[in-house]
């Protein structure tokens, strides 16, 4: 029978391996699965490629994973943060590579990866340094770039509510990248503030259908990054 629950966050991330590509949901702190990221720090996998819109703040969550030296490459749209020197130091010292992708192209590459579309054309970034080395083709009198789909070995995301089959709903703008990352992860791992039985989420309002989800772990009171940073918290 179908029951995707993991007993705890440690079990949920136990399969992550060195060298894995990991998508991590969130835009700023909204939707960032901090407890899963902290479990990943404890778990120890290294040489990770992380696909996430930002690079975290302070020294918790994604910034703490970076600071722990586990990330060899970031694929993101906006690595600058107000409250962190973690990524800038790693970048300037060459310890973490950066692939900078426009936010909409990043979102669409992730969706394409999840939807079985190997590549698509977009007008975004034509004529800019981010077009360097990319194939250009003209459609309807407009130059476009060829962009490839992105997939990941694991996706870590945060939901407001999940059922034990993996159907998800999110909270407000914490939805952001999570639905498309859920599609693009080979193993999609979800921390949910509420965990309910199948049927307790109206089928009309499911945002991520269960087919995209592999593990669900109940994290009833997820931390907010800004509160942790304000309190001077660090991890581990």
């Amino acid at each position: 029978m179908i029951d995707k629950r993991a007993a705890n966050v440690a079990e949920a991330v136990s399969e992550v391996f060195d060298g894995a590509t990991i998508m991590i949901g969130g835009f700023g702190e909204a939707g960032s699965p901090i407890e899963l990221i902290h479990a990943l720090i404890d778990q120890g996998a290294s040489d990770l490629t992380v696909i996430s819109n930002n690079c975290g703040s302070g020294e918790v969550g994604l910034a703490a994973l970076l600071k722990a030296g586990r990330v060899s490459k970031m694929i993101c749209s906006f690595p600058r943060t107000a409250n962190s020197t973690v990524f800038p130091d790693l970048y300037r010292s060459g310890r973490t590579q950066l692939e900078l992708v426009p936010q909409g192209t990043l979102a669409e590459r992730i969706r394409a990866g999840g939807a079985g579309i190997p590549a698509f054309y977009t007008p975004t970034a034509v004529g800019t340094p981010l077009a360097d080395g990319k194939e250009t083709r003209r459609f309807h009198d407009r130059d476009c770039l060829l962009e490839s789909g992105l997939t990941a070995d694991f996706t870590l995301i945060k939901a407001r509510r999940a059922d034990t089959h993996g159907n998800l709903v999110y909270n407000k703008t914490a939805r952001n990248f999570s639905p498309v990352m859920a599609m693009a992860g080979r193993i999609t791992i979800v921390q949910a503030a509420e965990l309910v039985a199948p049927g307790e989420i109206d089928p009309e309002r499911v945002i991520t259908p269960e087919i995209f989800v592999d593990r669900v772990v109940h994290v009833p009171n997820p931390a907010h990054e800004s509160a942790l940073v304000a309190a001077g918290a660090t991890y581990p």
């Binding site: 029978m1 939807a115 079985g116 089959h165 089928p203 259908p209 269960e210 087919i211």
Partner: protein, 225 residues
């Protein structure tokens, strides 16, 4: 044993039941229109399967009770269905993202012809006056991890449906993994059609006689799909 009809081998229900035995617990499954739909009636004890219908529902349940249907809750065959607890609705592009993106474990389809390389023809007879209609068949065979075909072994005229190469327009190239017929269960291997199991009262020679390509005997160790 007659050449036509279903007087030997498995009935339609038995074919569907035999196929259902090979679907692992927890699978996400799309069932084509017609004979494939029968498979949903035969979920083996202790297994939970989730049915996807490409018009936009995951967690499809059986037909509604008389008078309880909604003309806007239908399956890909345009018949009224129900939604099970844990179901979800989504639009066509999201539905085919599930299919094309390789998220479905299994699709069960009917066939006009299957070639020994696993090519499938199931959407058109290719006649000049035919109204061509493809629906989601080409997307399904291109995207779903395993493709099982369920079909009578031969046409009503007794012509083999398992053939050396398809003569009807193709749905996809090298896509079929297994074929469940009234006579046998047959795997499509790199080496060609391989017998997995015979229906009661049917022997290898009969199946070979009614198959339009060489049939390999049962492998000593049957690898799982």
């Amino acid at each position: 044993m007659t050449e036509t009809g279903n007087s030997i081998g498995w009935s339609r229900e038995e074919m569907a039941g035999r196929l259902a035995e090979d679907i692992p617990d927890g699978s996400y499954v799309n069932l084509g229109i017609g004979l494939p739909e029968l498979v949903a009636r035969f979920v083996p004890e202790g297994r939970e399967l989730v049915y996807h219908t490409e018009n936009g529902l995951l967690g499809m349940g059986p037909s509604p009770k008389e008078g309880e249907g909604d003309p806007e809750l239908i399956n890909a065959g345009k018949r009224q269905v129900t939604a099970k607890p844990g179901a979800s609705y989504f639009h066509q592009s999201d539905s085919f993202a599930m299919i094309r993106g390789g998220h479905l474990d299994l699709c069960v389809l009917g066939a006009l012809q299957v070639s020994r390389a696993g090519d499938l023809a199931n959407w058109s007879l290719g006649g000049p006056d035919d109204i061509p209609a493809v629906g989601g068949a080409m997307d399904l065979v291109a995207g779903v991890k395993s493709i099982f075909v369920i079909t009578q072994h031969c046409t009503k005229d007794g012509a083999p449906k398992l053939v050396e190469s398809c003569t009807y327009p193709l749905t996809g190239l090298r896509v079929v993994d297994r074929v469940y017929t009234d006579l046998a269960v047959i795997a499509v291997r790199p080496e060609g059609f391989q017998l997995i199991e015979l229906a009661p009262g049917v022997d290898f020679d009969l199946v070979q006689e009614r198959t339009g390509a060489r049939l390999l005997p049962v492998a000593e160790t049957t690898s799982h799909v």
